[in-house]
Symmetry: C2
Subunit: 204 residues, 2 copies
């Protein structure tokens, strides 16, 4: 039996690339593609692919949210995260939300097939590069707490400590404490560096 593959990516060239890579694979049945989350969900109402290759960045919704939704509706479907970025935070998020694996867009045909076959068997798959970056000891920046992340986002939005305090119903000194631990964990010395680093790590 052939494996039904469906691709969700907003870049036509990437879709075409995957299609081209897989077209001579006899075990693969190309079921189609979507360029956004909405049309992906519509497609799934009518068809049942075995594996979905899902970009992390979609125009209408983040791949992470879409992943969660699809998993809730169709728990049997295997989802492979797809991205240009090799970022621990995103990968973890994707896995936590039901993806069985993660492939980078510079993956070769062999890697891609290996990934598809792995997740079909219910096994987790990561690109080689992803694996090696996951093995690295986690930098502090990914250990920020939920509250710290909230504060971080509000700082990036330009709110002052007083405004953040009001918004989160906490006191200004508390906001300050979170702020300090953010600076520590990111190993930066001021807000400017904090935001620059956090943005680079796509936490914002």
């Amino acid at each position: 039996m052939k494996t039904g593959i469906f691709v969700v990516d907003d870049h036509y060239m990437v879709i075409e690339g995957i299609r081209s890579l897989l077209q001579n694979e006899k075990t693969v049945d190309w079921m189609g593609h979507a360029t956004n989350a909405e049309s992906c969900l519509s497609f799934l109402k009518l068809h049942e692919p075995d594996v979905i290759l899902m970009d992390v960045n979609l125009p209408d919704k983040s791949g992470i949210d879409l992943c969660k939704e699809v998993k809730q509706l169709y728990p049997a479907m295997a989802i492979l995260g797809l991205s240009t970025f090799n970022q621990q935070a995103i990968i973890k998020n994707m896995i936590d939300n039901g993806a069985l694996g993660y492939v980078l867009k510079n993956a070769t045909k062999e890697e891609l097939m290996e990934a598809i076959n792995s997740v079909l068997k219910g096994k987790v798959y990561y690109s080689f590069e992803v694996l090696s970056s996951l093995r690295k000891p986690e930098p502090n920046q990914f250990l920020i707490t939920r509250r710290e992340k909230e504060v971080l986002l509000l700082i990036a939005e330009g709110l002052t400590n007083a405004e953040i305090a009001e918004k989160l119903f906490i006191s200004v000194p508390t906001v300050n404490t979170h702020r300090k631990s953010l600076l520590e964990k990111f190993e930066v010395k001021n807000t400017a560096m904090l935001i620059a680093k956090a943005t680079k790590l796509e936490l914002i």
Copy 2:
């Protein structure tokens, strides 16, 4: 005569996608691809493609720098910028450095061929989406001066006004003035927002 095409992109799936899109085009001769700036330059020592499709983000060097270098070495070569991002600043930068056009990675085969044929004739080509975003009135953020940009980068690196002043051989109040005009031009109210917005606009 066929048009020699060469692609520089660090994502194998994109390369494969373009190859697949162009493989049935009789006027196109696929000359190969490179996944980084260095191997692109090596290739060009031995071959002479007519059109280079060049990703803006490369692992070893920015596409903008590579574009400049290639144009200096081989002025006759037509370069088409290639990117996922539709960002005025990048596009302008690419064009200023010798690219004849700019195509997004969600371009269709037709768009791609039109782009290739345009630049072959020496005409400038932009994706439809790029065009419409270029038509929008320029937000203030792209009107920042050279000095302001220097200051912006140093702020993002976490330097204080005093440190920036020392580095640029100017006084602290001057740094402050630049800082203030940055805040004004970006329409933000503090450093955090400034860095967040500037990073989003890929000015940093």
